[in-house]
């Protein structure tokens, strides 16, 4: 990797960050909505949900819920890159980007990292709220959780980039990611631990392979370690590897798609 490559990567990341800055109002609204969710709804839900008895260990549902809802936000916001990329394609920006003196691989990686960072930064205020509500947390857990959240955002961006550029249709993008967003979050451990889901076998199997479950349970294991470890969907190492593998896999997919398949035109 030479200096030019790094420069191009940096500029592509800058492109996505600029995009995000323009949405300051949108970001603020999402954060406010998040705060309402974790305070009003979260507390109400916690009052209703009785995990004790159904679980082998004693887990505070509210803390469980906090990390779940943060994960779902991280996922939704990363998925929403799809609409940005679709808009760029519709306005012909992708054609402009494809004409620039940047290699296709660097373009794919740059947009994946840039989109990932932008989505991740987007959720940082929410993450801060979560930390504040969790009260005493250790620094190590914070650092590892932030890195895994960033990696997760990048994998979702890589996936989204590959799919949007292959679909080449604004409508198809809207439908596909709208469905994916709501479905995948529900079919995960965002709201219920895997052991509770085990009563509904098909539901459980999806939740077990669902990346959202892995990142949600990984974050929980980091912050609620002792209590949670027993009911997480996999061991911490397995979940971390899954998240890392996903990031590598989906950025490679993005590279492959952009290098071999993507061309301008054919959108409208």
């Amino acid at each position: 990797m030479n200096l030019n490559t790094l420069r191009a990567l940096y500029l592509l990341i800058l492109w996505d960050l600029n995009k995000m800055l323009r949405r300051a109002v949108f970001v603020a609204m999402r954060v406010i909505w998040f705060v309402i969710q974790v305070t009003v709804f979260g507390l109400a839900l916690t009052a209703m949900v009785r995990l004790r008895g159904s679980l082998p260990v004693d887990v505070n549902y509210y803390e469980f819920y906090l990390l779940g809802i943060y994960t779902s936000m991280l996922f939704s916001i990363s998925v929403s890159r799809a609409y940005d990329i679709a808009e760029e394609f519709e306005e012909g920006i992708v054609e402009y980007h494809l004409s620039l003196p940047i290699s296709r691989r660097v373009f794919a990686v740059g947009r994946t990292i840039g989109g990932g960072i932008a989505s991740f930064l987007f959720t940082l205020p929410m993450f801060a709220v979560v930390l504040w509500l969790l009260e005493d947390v250790n620094v190590e857990a914070v650092i590892i959780s932030l890195s895994s959240a960033l990696l997760f955002a990048m994998s979702i961006t890589g996936f989204v980039l590959s799919i949007v550029l292959s679909l080449k249709s604004g409508d198809a993008t809207d439908i596909m990611f709208g469905v994916l967003d709501s479905l995948l979050i529900r079919l995960s451990t965002v709201f219920y631990p895997a052991v509770v889901l085990s009563r509904y076998a098909p539901y459980l199997y999806v939740a077990l392979v669902n990346p959202i479950s892995h990142i949600a349970d990984f974050l929980r294991t980091l912050f609620l370690f002792e209590e949670y470890r027993a009911i997480a969907i996999a061991s911490p190492i397995a979940m971390a590897s899954y998240i890392l593998g996903l990031a590598v896999g989906f950025s490679s997919l993005a590279m492959y798609i952009v290098e071999k398949k993507v061309e301008g035109g054919g959108w409208r």
Binding site: A8, L14, E91, G92, I93, L98, P101, E263
Partner: protein, 313 residues
């Protein structure tokens, strides 16, 4: 003379539409080359293939010997394109957009600021630098698009209908800037359907129609390439009968078109023939009021080559 862009048997299909149909073309280093053709003739498609944005369906395109498919990364280092439709989001601002562009094409941040300011001033864009794109007029948006290539100074500078939507004064500024770019070492390719622009700017022109190459050469060569390329127009003293007799006499020179008060002969090398015609008519006792030799305009060539009828006069 080195060939900057070599196009061989290029075909591009979109579904059932054949946008480019077995096109062969060489564009030489350092020239200003024009792609002339009516709407939908495949100009933009060809340019986007050269810039690696579209992939050819079949055939080959080389930029300085580098294949646009296999060596796209290398090709993109040579080519810069100003798109027909300005590429920006509604909420983009010209200065930011151009600054980012300048840095991507290799300027350091401080160099970028300088070159962007210079180009924006030349094109009269500086006062619009911090407006949103949706606030800009069509012509101004177009200038921002052109500015990208002027900033980039690529070895091969492509302009897709650069002055469409641009006012007359700005047109001249743009043309000057594009010529200056060539002086500084760029090969320039311009797609246009503006005859005046083609004639003023382009040293060689390819006329394409329905994706096929119909004619290639300098403006002069193109005009001469039409059989019956020049027009000799005569006005005679006399009545209809006089014109009838004259037409009979002059048919041997080429296609004639007679109206009530003039006679036109479509022929080649009009200047030489006009003298012969003059002598012949005088020797037969015709009284000549006026004789003119007219070149067909590029318009005429265009109509001729693209299958439309040669206009009369």
């Amino acid at each position: 003379m080195e060939v900057a862009v070599k196009i061989r048997k290029l075909v591009k299909r979109f579904g059932n539409t054949v946008a480019v149909d077995s096109l062969d073309l060489d564009i030489n280093e350092g020239e200003i080359f024009g792609l002339l053709g009516p709407n939908g003739s495949g100009k933009t498609t060809t340019l986007l293939i050269i810039s690696t944005v579209y992939k050819p369906t079949s055939g080959e395109v080389y930029v300085y010997g580098h294949d646009v498919i296999r060596e796209g990364d290398v090709v993109r280092k040579y080519v810069g394109i100003a798109f027909q439709e300005p590429k920006a989001l509604w909420v983009d601002k010209p200065y930011e957009l151009l600054l980012w562009h300048a840095r991507v094409v290799g300027y350091s941040t401080s160099e970028a600021r300088e070159v962007v300011k210079n180009v924006m001033e030349v094109l009269g864009l500086w006062e619009h630098r911090n407006k949103y794109f949706y606030q800009l007029s069509g012509g101004t948006r177009k200038k921002v698009e052109i500015a990208k290539v002027l900033i980039q100074k690529p070895k091969i500078a492509i302009f897709d209908e650069p002055t469409a939507q641009v006012d007359v004064i700005s047109k001249h500024a743009l043309w000057d800037a594009i010529r200056e770019l060539r002086t500084q070492g760029s090969t320039v390719i311009i797609a246009t359907n503006d005859m005046f622009e083609a004639e003023r700017m382009c040293e060689r022109i390819a006329i394409i129609y329905k994706g096929k190459l119909k004619a290639l050469g300098t403006v002069e060569e193109l005009k001469d390439s039409i059989p019956e390329g020049d027009i000799v127009e005569l006005m005679l003293d006399g009545d209809e009968n006089t014109y009838l007799r004259a037409e009979d006499l002059l048919k041997q020179y080429g296609k004639t078109v007679r109206s009530n008060d003039s006679l036109k002969i479509f022929l080649n090398k009009g200047e030489e023939r006009a003298i012969e015609i003059l002598d012949l008519l005088k020797s037969r006792g015709f009284k000549i009021r006026k004789i003119m030799v007219k070149e067909p305009s590029l318009d005429d060539v265009f109509f001729y080559m693209t299958g439309a009828k040669l206009k009369e006069g």
